[in-house]
Point group: C2
Chain length 291, copies 2
């Protein structure tokens, strides 16, 4: 029997792009995400449901780069990815290059219930639709804000990928991540988010969700590396630091959230900011936006 813990992030990046002006809205969205995760747990659901509940809130919030409001590809389209993994049986599901599913994290959950682990492109939207998940026209996901940002060359990197990790009362762990990818990315580009072991990982010991320069997180195999280190007896804090060190060694940046079975957490980042939040059963939710 553990005390449940939920941690969330909304992307590691710079302070640009209205973050400071909109701190209150960010704070509100993060608190709401933690609240929904808590509610799911209090209703008797497990870590997988809590992670999804938090991410759905963040996918719905237009200032985050996931679901509606996602960063635009070079051609002005939106392509989204998401992944979900749980400790109980090593189950995992992920989607990449989806264009119509309102909540990509639910599509990842649908894949987790299937014999597959990763479905890409139109087939992923089709699977989501068959699972009864709401589909939207491509234009639904494109916001004026992101359209304006695509026009501005060389703006701050603001990944704003979202993710959540949870250990529930049964000691089960889950991790999820959802993103619209990198602003200006070529269509078809897939980052670390839906790559199990890169941006998302959960095993019996630790759950991890990453954000940052996706290619470097893939090349460093960040999330799986943390799992292996924790298995060796390394603390979640040190494991997270070492894995982020591998990203830095590649000249890249980002951050991650991790929680272990005992409820210890690490929320490190090597960028200016990483909006994030933490809730422990019996305590109040805490969120940090620009600090």
């Amino acid at each position: 029997m553990s005390h449940p813990v939920v941690a969330i992030h909304a992307g590691a990046g710079d302070r640009g792009a209205g973050l400071l002006e909109q701190q209150d809205r960010h704070r509100e969205a993060l608190l709401r995400a933690l609240e929904e995760a808590r509610t799911a747990l209090e209703r008797g659901h497990g870590a997988v449901e809590a992670v999804q509940a938090a991410i759905v809130v963040m996918e719905s919030f237009e200032l985050f780069n996931a679901g509606r409001g996602s960063a635009l590809c070079s051609d002005g389209s939106v392509e989204m990815s998401a992944a979900l993994m749980r400790s109980s049986d090593g189950g995992a599901g992920a989607v990449a290059a989806v264009r119509h599913t309102e909540h990509p994290i639910h599509a990842a959950a649908a894949v987790m219930r299937s014999p597959q682990v990763l479905i890409v492109g139109e087939a992923a939207d089709a699977l989501a639709e068959r699972a009864g998940l709401p589909q939207r026209p491509a234009s639904y996901f494109v916001t004026e804000r992101q359209r304006a940002r695509l026009q501005v060359a060389g703006t701050a990197r603001d990944h704003a990928t979202v993710g959540a990790v949870c250990v529930d009362a049964d000691g089960l762990l889950a991790a999820g991540t959802s993103t619209g990818g990198l602003r200006g990315q070529p269509p078809g580009r897939v980052g670390d988010c839906p790559i199990i072991g890169a941006g998302t990982w959960a095993d019996d010991r630790v759950a991890v969700s990453c954000t940052g320069d996706g290619e470097a997180f893939v090349r460093a195999g960040v999330a799986r590396y943390i799992g292996a280190l924790v298995e060796q007896g390394v603390s979640v804090y040190e494991a997270a630091e070492r894995a982020l060190g591998e990203v830095k060694r590649l000249g890249a940046g980002g951050g991650l959230i991790a929680v272990d079975r005992s409820g210890d957490t690490a929320l490190p980042f090597v960028t200016a900011v990483m909006p994030r939040g933490l809730w422990r059963a019996g305590g109040d939710a805490e969120v940090w936006v620009a600090d």
Copy 2:
């Protein structure tokens, strides 16, 4: 200064599907793949080129499930994946759901030369075409043999994914994997092959290429786990065994090839067969087909 070593595999699976009848042809293809890798090294190329040279031969051999002759999706189409990774700078490239590129491993190499790590679907074929790689009509990849097999329900699992790992004279490592996926898979399904850290991995210590029940290899993060274990001082042989043990724990099967910086290799599999080959500088190439 190391003595170069090249190891290859052509998939872990059952003895079915004409393997015994066609042992000589399999043997010839494996020897030819090792020969091409050796030639690349002797011409002064490095591990990355040697791995590609071996895989191109196996992609061209219709009895292997990669390139022409790939297993068919449930709708009779061919969708291919490939990945390539090198130790020198942690560079990696992968493609998934490609339908037209004659040699998917070369498409993975083209992605490795780009800022991206993974490109999926039509965009991957388009990138390959822009890189000057030959494109073929979808029908080119579909063989009568695979068409017949798709009709037969419940036949033996015969992954026949191909892969290669190499340490070159400079001590640099590389790994590559190429596959047509799982027979009867839904279009859009992606297995472990193009997932850096699942089916393919190379760092300064070890290079790994996997084959088998792809979803389990993703859920176990097999290749990245081996990298982390070898970093901890575990031998390549024991690391490979432990990683395969994680796959077995998920009720799945498969095999892998791994080589470390000193040239030590592991070629374990938990299926009936895994056609494979090994060449060490100064020695003769060895291949095993049905044993």
